[in-house]
């Protein structure tokens, strides 16, 4: 049934199926009928065989019995001849004959009786009649007329005594018989006729009796001459056959007819009723030989009734037919089912396509809508900016600021939703470019610095020395995750600290094991601490959720870091380790914590701890879910530990690649926010009671190349300076610190106010050559005024290496080591674009002019060209450009084509470069940004495809321009020029 249909149309296919079903039914009907017929003929054949064998059996028996009787008559003839003619006087008379025949009648069951007729010629008639004493009579019992010869019966069996004296020659059949018998000398038979008396059908057997023995080859005339008389007997064929058949089995079933067929055209019936002429009936004909060659007989057997049609010949085919129908039905059903399933599948495919199309449409829609929303929002925000620049009274200013904050929140929300949609669509790809983790963290910290200062939270960053300075990964996404986490922490923390740490995972594990080994002791200490004082050994002295981040483990981490850095020197990591680095970033806060019941749905989008959270703190709760997706995309895991009212610690791991060594110094310089090197070797003494905080400060100072000694109180410093070396072991004479960095906690305004005076005294006393500058570290801005006059400078946290550097520069009057505006802290477009050489390509003069002016505004040096070709000629390496903005639609050579060509040129240049300058030099890869009016997904994909780094919308929007530029300026090496 499993017929394969070709490439036929739907309709034809259905049609085919039905036709096949009809064919199948017809085929099975045909087969069944055929089977039925076959079985019928088979049974017919069997019946015929049975009939044949039965018929033959009957014929043979009849023949045998007949032959026996004939033989006996023959014997009688010999008896007559022996005792009647060869004895003189004859020893036979009627009485003897009758007795003898009666007593031997059992030998001839088929014969009614026998009689002997003597041959009497007419001449002897008188004599004969006289001898016998009776007249010869005819069959009609009349006195016989004159004949040539006569054959009167002289002896007869008692059963046929009525024929005595009758002239056998007078009966037609008998006469014929007599004539033939005496001529042949053999037994002859009459044709069947109604016998006298019994009126049964019968034949008469006649045997000649000769006077002398004749040779076998005697002629007919000799035989006639020698004939003495005739012995005759009547066969009652009807009763004979009847008796015979009665003895045989199967008598009821078949009907037997015996015919005399001497005259073939007119068979004479000897036995049986003439059956109706029904040729349909089965019959069999057997030839009979009754010993008379002249007469021919045959036996015809028939079944009495038509043989019944056998049950099996009906049941078997119909059974088979039923099975065939069932099979057909099953096949048909299966086929229909297959069709249905196929149809359903097709529908599903269609629906799937629709769904996918809808999905694409959705993301398209999202992209478009968010773009559409962002455009007016930018207008709103720009207007608000301008509004804030005008003269407003306080209330108005407040309103405007609120509106601005809300607008920014809306924009960031839209961006987040867009991110989320992108992640869901799987369109978000993590790029792999070299970046400096530390400067990214500095950026993040600076983002939140205002907020943390305002709240009085200590915000700090610590990056383990073992973390390589340049890593390969997606800086934007990394920043996004950390910004998210830190943002959350800052948002939910009212006092205490937010502490970001970055370590290597294996390193952390090692430290954890170490803490586990120190085991009980540490644990007990911790408990004691908790019960005794409520000051914990954390950054701000408040308890944190993740107790693993206690001072002990942190110290261990530090010591490990130190020991390793000692081993391998200069903080460089061993190169033997695979080129993958797994970072463990933790963001620890002392905020309100996450309620236990809400902890398992923290990463579900739009889920906040409870509805009141958003009322109190704002936000949509989408950030963490995005962070989770991003972390997973980076091959890491994110989790957290949180205790309500204690704080939360979020930790995530990220797998990043190490940057190849060849990228080297240049890359580092270009990627990192360049830190001034003028502080290298400077000595600073740090006064801080709290080890963790001290470590953070040290981390930043070390980045500047400053050598640090830390002590816990101001007095220790003074001791050291005054030459009492026992107070400060590490201090060495002649190498005194040039700066005293004092943590606010350790600063007692009353006592230490006069530290400067003290130091001056020391100098006058000649104990020190230079009076160290005193710098105070503050968390809250408002404290600034109180201590301001007593110290040389104040740094308000959060600490960043660049902040410290700037402060020191100003204080020490070193002048600008470089012209970067590090104090402003915000990485504005100006900061990014300042001094960069930028090529702008656009065929539209107006656009070109506007774009150039916009870029110039941010400090970039702009070169404009009006076609892709002239851009190509300018960008033939080596060139001085740091970036290129390229219009997409241009006559002659459009932006995509131009980019492709530029990339080709760069590749060529890169292939040649290593031969000349070794591997240190960065490769040519100019960041190219498309300028386009429609910022839909497809355009972006095409941009990326032809080697562009991103796109900006035309006309420029500041935020977007910043985003696009920030990506490549941070992540792209800038070739030497």
């Amino acid at each position: 049934m499993g017929l394969k249909t070709g490439a036929g149309g739907e309709k034809r296919w259905w049609w085919n199926r039905n036709v096949i079903m009809v064919l199948w039914v017809m085929l099975s009907v045909g087969f069944c009928i055929g089977l039925h017929c076959h079985m019928r003929t088979e049974s017919m054949r069997k019946a015929e065989e049975t009939l044949t064998s039965m018929c033959e059996e009957r014929a043979r028996m009849l023949q045998e019995q007949f032959a026996v009787s004939v033989n006996h008559v023959h014997a009688l003839a010999i008896l007559v001849s022996t005792f009647h003619y060869q004895k003189s006087p004859p020893a036979l008379d009627q009485e003897t004959f009758a007795d003898y025949t009666a007593s031997t009648a059992f030998e001839r069951p088929l014969l009614n009786g026998v009689a002997y007729a003597q041959r009497v010629v007419h001449a002897e008639r008188q004599l004969f009649e006289n001898q016998q004493g009776w007249m010869i009579k005819t069959m009609k019992r009349d006195p016989s007329p004159v004949q040539d010869e006569y054959a009167p019966v002289i002896y007869s069996q008692e059963t046929v005594s009525y024929i005595e004296a009758l002239d056998m020659m007078s009966g037609e059949e008998d006469r014929e018989n007599i004539l033939r018998a005496r001529a042949t000398g053999k037994a002859v038979l009459t044709r069947p006729f109604r016998l006298l008396e019994s009126n049964h059908l019968g034949v008469v057997l006649t045997f000649p009796v000769y006077l002398l023995d004749l040779p076998d080859d005697a002629t007919a005339e000799e035989r006639v001459r020698a004939t003495a008389g005739y012995l005759g007997g009547a066969f009652d064929v009807e009763s004979l056959v009847e008796n015979l058949l009665r003895q045989l089995a199967g008598n009821q079933e078949i009907m037997v007819n015996v015919y005399d067929v001497t005259n073939a055209s007119e068979p004479l019936i000897m036995y049986g009723t003439n059956p109706p002429d029904d040729h349909m009936l089965l019959s069999h004909v057997s030839m009979l030989d009754f010993g008379d060659p002249f007469r021919k007989h045959q036996m015809k057997c028939r079944y009495r009734e038509k043989p019944p049609v056998s049950l099996s010949s009906i049941t078997t085919p119909s059974g088979i037919f039923v099975i065939c129908m069932l099979v057909g039905y099953i096949g048909y059903a299966a086929w229909s089912h297959y069709d249905n399933v196929k149809e359903d599948f097709r529908k599903m495919e269609e629906l799937k396509k629709q769904a996918e199309a809808a999905d694409v449409a959705k993301s398209q829609f999202l992209a478009t809508v968010s773009h559409e929303i962002r455009t007016p929002m930018n207008g709103v925000l720009g207007m608000l900016d301008m509004l804030l620049d005008t003269n407003l009274n306080l209330t108005q200013k407040d309103y405007a600021q609120t509106a601005q904050v809300c607008g920014r929140a809306l924009i960031s929300l839209i961006n987040e939703v867009l991110d989320r949609a992108k992640i869901e669509a799987g369109k978000l790809e993590i790029e792999s470019v070299p970046f400096d983790l530390r400067s990214i963290l500095d950026d993040v910290i600076s983002l939140f610095s205002a907020k943390s200062r305002e709240k009085g939270i200590e915000l700090a960053v610590y990056v383990s020395e073992r973390v390589p300075s340049i890593l390969m990964g997606d800086p934007g996404r990394f920043r996004q995750i950390i910004t998210n986490l830190v943002g959350n922490s800052v948002k939910f923390t009212e006092r205490g600290h937010v502490f970001v740490q970055v370590h290597l995972v294996e390193h952390v594990n090692m430290a954890m094991n170490a803490t586990a080994e120190t085991g009980l002791n540490g644990h007990v200490n911790e408990v004691n601490k908790k019960s005794a004082t409520t000051v914990f050994n954390t950054l701000s002295g408040l308890e944190v959720a993740d107790s693993r981040n206690t001072c002990e483990s942190f110290k261990l981490l530090l010591s490990h870091g130190a020991s390793l850095s000692c081993t391998f020197g200069g903080g460089s990591v061993p190169e033997s380790i695979a080129d993958k680095v797994t970072l463990m970033v933790s963001v620890e806060d002392t905020g309100i914590g996450i309620p236990v019941h809400a902890q398992d749905r923290v990463f579900t989008p739009f889920m906040q701890a409870d509805s009141s959270t958003s009322r109190n703190y704002g936000g949509t709760g989408i950030g963490l879910s995005i962070s989770k997706c991003l972390v997973e995309l980076m091959g890491g895991k994110i989790n957290f530990i949180s205790q309500p009212h204690v704080g939360s610690t979020f930790m995530f791991t990220a797998v990043l690649q190490k940057c190849g060594k060849s990228a080297g110094v240049d890359t580092k310089r270009s990627l990192s926010e360049v830190l001034p090197t003028c502080f290298r070797g400077m000595r600073v003494t740090l006064v801080d009671r709290r080890a963790v905080r001290a470590a953070v400060t040290k981390y930043h100072l070390q980045r500047l190349g400053i050598i640090i000694e830390d002590v816990s109180t101001v007095n220790e410093v003074l001791c050291a300076l005054s030459g009492q070396n026992d107070c400060l072991n590490s201090s060495q004479p002649g190498k005194q610190p040039s700066i005293l960095l004092i943590e606010k906690d350790s600063w007692d305004p009353k006592v230490d106010v006069h530290i400067q005076n003290q130091l001056l005294e020391y100098k006058e006393a000649g104990r020190i050559q230079v009076v160290p500058k005193v710098v105070l570290l503050l968390t809250i801005e408002s404290d600034k005024t109180r201590a301001g006059s007593h110290v040389d400078a104040i740094i308000v946290k959060p600490l960043r290496a660049s902040t410290i550097a700037t402060c020191f520069q100003q204080m020490l009057g070193m002048g600008k080591c470089q012209n970067k505006d590090t104090l402003s802290g915000s990485t504005s477009l100006r900061g990014l674009l300042d001094g960069k050489n930028i090529l702008v390509v656009d065929d539209n003069k107006v656009n070109l002019r506007v774009a150039a002016a916009a870029l110039k505004k941010y400090g970039a040096k702009v070169v404009c060209v009006e076609s892709g070709k002239s851009a190509l000629s300018l960008l033939q390496p080596p060139h001085k450009f740091d970036a290129c903005f390229m219009d997409v639609q241009m006559p002659e050579m459009d932006g995509f084509e131009a980019t492709r060509q530029i990339r080709l040129m760069e590749n060529k240049a890169n292939e040649e470069a290593p031969l000349e300058e070794g591997s240190v030099k960065a490769k040519w890869r100019l960041p190219i940004l498309a300028m386009t009016a429609d910022v839909i997904q497809a355009t972006h994909e095409e941009c990326v495809k032809c080697g562009m780094d991103g796109y900006v919308s035309k006309p420029f929007e500041e935020a977007q321009l910043y985003q696009a530029v920030a990506r490549f300026v941070v992540s792209q090496p800038i070739p030497d020029s």
Partner: protein, 166 residues
């Protein structure tokens, strides 16, 4: 080179002894009215923000560039559309260019009219194109008149500025 736009404007607006403040006021009112009428959008503001001490004539320069460009394109377009067989691809390219420059300048009405125009181009609708071209021209000339006035005002303000500096 056509004569500078400003000089043409000056002919129709002889110097008047207006104070600097009044001039500024007038300029602001003009620009505001243009915003309200939909002639300009926020992009023009960006342009104004780009103008600073280092490039005092920036807005004027851009506007002049824009007007030259637009007039050239409009001439070309008029020629193209008048032909029996309109080459829509060429027309589309020109309109695209005009759209680009008008959006750079912030000429909102012209930009919108260009968008409409491009749709007709895509449909190969000649009548529509003719209509659209007229609409574009209408908006453009309206805008140019305002720009003329604006430039003249600016010129005068700058003249004042330089006088004061001197």
């Amino acid at each position: 080179m056509p004569p500078p736009l400003c000089s043409r404007v000056l002919l129709s607006h002889p110097f008047s002894p207006m104070s600097l403040m009044a001039l500024r006021e007038q300029l602001n009112m003009l620009v505001n009215s243009m915003y309200i009428e939909g002639l300009l959008d926020q992009q023009f503001q960006q342009l104004q923000m780009l103008q600073d001490a280092s490039s005092p004539g920036f807005v004027a320069e851009v506007i002049t560039l824009f007007c030259e460009d637009a007039e050239r394109i409009l001439t070309e377009l008029t020629k193209l559309v008048d032909q029996a067989v309109v080459e829509f691809q060429k027309v589309d390219a020109y309109v695209h260019q005009l759209k680009g420059s008008s959006s750079s300048v912030g000429a909102q009405n012209v930009k919108l009219a260009c968008i409409q125009f491009r749709q007709f181009c895509e449909e190969n609708n000649k009548d529509g194109c003719l209509n659209a071209l007229n609409v574009v021209k209408h908006h453009y000339y309206l805008l140019r008149n305002k720009f003329d006035t604006m430039l003249q005002l600016e010129q005068r303000i700058q003249a004042y500025d330089s006088k004061q500096q001197n």
